[in-house]
Amino acid sequence: MRGDCKLQVARGAGARGFAPALQGVFGASILLLILVMLSACQPVAPGAATPTPLVLASHNSFSISEEVLTAFEAEHNATVQVLTLGDAGEALNKIILSKDAPLADLFFGVDNTFLSRALAADIFEPYTSPLLEQIPDELEMDPEHRLSPVDYGFVNLNADSEWFEAAGIPLPQTLEELADPTYRGLLVVQNPATSSPGLAFLLATIDYFGEDGYLDFWRSLKANDVLVTDGWSDAYFSHFTVGSGGEGDRPLVVSYSTSPPADVVYATDGRTEPASVNIFPPGSAFRQIEFVGVLKGAAQPELARRFIDFMLDVQFQSDIPLQMFVYPANPNAALPDLFVQFAQTPADPVIFDPTAIEANRERWVQAWVELMTE
């Protein structure tokens, strides 16, 4: 029957006779689609009360322990769907663009370099979590509590201590020394136009050398054969001697103060001490803070607020260090031994005004790019 029908249509298509081909392909593809659809469908779990769905949007680096997430879901009879939207900048922009029809109930991952953009876009609902009392005041940057601090970290220089020991060269003590011939061709940094640690380090040098002086410093770094990569991964894994497992030839890298413990956690040779160490020449470390907020128009605002409480509470906060390799904002959280031992914090980090960053980012970065490519 079906075959007859096919033939008729085919004849009807005229002398060209393309139709049977199309129908065959079409039928086969519908079959394939149905198959794919069937396999994509997941059975609905039978349960007494249907759990409330909560959607958390974040950047690609968001991570959480299974156990911790399940604890929240069980306590609030909720299912948490996490969506990742690209790197920190991309993710925030997508959230801003979806303002009229929010993608999620809450967004985690606004850092202080994007804070003013996020607040100006008017996308967050104020919420003063009772847990904020436990968080140090210096981490709170929005008096209206649209954004609450969850974690912080430092962008700073990492050095390959074994390399420097073997070469008999002392670790650099000041930023100016990096322009010294002793350190020629040793440093790899990231492009501030495309990389968040790259921007952080540039901002640190602007703070330290001033708006009139930072370009001169970078000119001297350029003369001293600094290597600029597009992002952190390429700098760390392709060029940094420690990160690349010995293939790279740059023993100094712009990274994070929490990279050395990762070097131990993710070691392959059973080492108990990292090969990379933090160095903090004055004015070289930049403090990054990451914030979370309830999105305006959230489908589940109440549950979103509970999730923020949960994120600021000790269980989630203690999970942060080894999941995302940053420091928990809540000082009551337990720090793993490795962090205590190897993830030192700089005594006097650069703390930059977010408004100044948003206002000048393009101008500063553009001037830097022009200098480095001239």
Binding site: P20, L33, Q81, T84, G89, N191, E362
Partner: protein
Amino acid sequence: MRRTLLALLYALPILFLLVFYVYPLLAILRVSFSVPAPEVVSQTLEMAASPSFWRVLWFTTWQATLSTVLTVLVGLPLAAIFARFDFPGKGIMAALLTIPFVMPTVVVAPAFLALIGRNGVLNTWLQASFGLTAPPLQLEQTIGLILLVHVFYNVAIVIRTVGGFWSNLSPSLGEAAAALGARPWQIFHTVTLPLLAPSILAASLLVFLFCFTSFGVVLILGGLRFATIEVEIYRQAVSYFNLPLAAFLSIVQLGVTFTVMVIYTRMQAGLSRSLRRRRRSQPRRPADLRQWLLVGGALCVTALGVLAPLAALVVRSFTLGDPGLTLIYYQALGQNLRQSAFFAPPVAAIGNSLLYAAATLAISLPLGVIAAYMLAQPRSRWAAVLDPLLLLPLGTSAVTLGFGYIVAMGPLRASPWLVPIAHSLIALPFVVRSFLPALRALDQRLRDAASMLGATPLRRWWTIDAPLLVRALLISAAFAFAISLGEFGATLLIARPDRPTMPMVIYQALSRPGLINYGQALAMSTILMAVTAFSLILIERFRLPGEEEF
């Protein structure tokens, strides 16, 4: 009724493109230009007047042109070898040459540097054998490296589309020319090349569009000095959130794409010739030592150029940070080291990737075939609209379209279905471009003869058209599959970390420090290569029953 049915069928690809390409694109452009007009105009004028804008536009265009020429020059001889000769391991070789297509730049870049970087294998060897003090090859962050890697990535497009078409050429014309005393190069120049021209042009167009919108290669290997329009769009849209400027640049990019396509269509129009399929040239073993040397030599050079970087990557996945062989990175892939809620064992990631790739095939093949049939009709009303529309997605900035999805796609934004749909947008031009030349080459006289002899249209299609078309369809299937397997998608789409694909696992591993993470990225890249090669070999194996008769 029949006409309506056919019209409905023909409307499908257009509808697909309108809903999943034109609509989101227009939506994001509208949002971008919703700022007060004077501001937009002055900003746009300022940018259009700045020398850096013209520098970027010029660089993007000439590097893409040069990359395309080089890719065709490298690909053509290989296409000839694949079309004309049969040799051991041919299918595997063809699959291997397509692997670069799916590899993330971020893992390919170090592999290249390990070979030809300052301290790479080649430089070390040259220095040692010629007693040089400085490394003779200084390719890092140069245009030379960008071009080289563009050839590496895209040569498969030429080998597959031209080679597939070439193998359908009947040898009779060439043999006739030879009998009349033409020399081999004369035959190539006056007979083979004109016949191949449509497929060479189609392959060049695809390569050009890929290089024109090059992002990762230019960013990672080019350093600061080089920026394509795509890179500039990313900076404006993401770093500075300057949507009007990003939109302006996207339109410029589309404008160039459109111009190139118009030129292409003009050139293409006069080139098609129908091929009589009296018999197909059967690939044969090289006849004598000279031919063996030729084939062997060409394959060795290719192996060095394309396979060496991939091999370097595989080797590193077994030896990273360890003097001997180690499997720890593969073992680590199967362990949830951080007790992460988003952990997926490699099997799950492979499964997710294959599922998306299968769905991409299911969407892009039928739509592409319908579109190709439409375009192949003489005086088709639809062709004028459909032809450029099909190719524009390749010339569209991923960031822009991704933002467009956010603005326009409503509840579908976070749906896993958007993944194969977006992949299909990129795969569709491949399906159409490799299917269309084969379709146009069908010999109408043969089909008329079949009809006169009483063959039903279906039978006629099955015995005359299908064998010729199936090869082309398989080639496009391979591309559609590979495109989907390799697409990272976070820029374009919303990712669900609880359902990671292979490329997502690679990027996840590369986002935190530690040798295990780097090793896992390399190990997953190796698995991605293996899965790709295996799938492509399977696709290539597919034959119509009775096809061997030809």
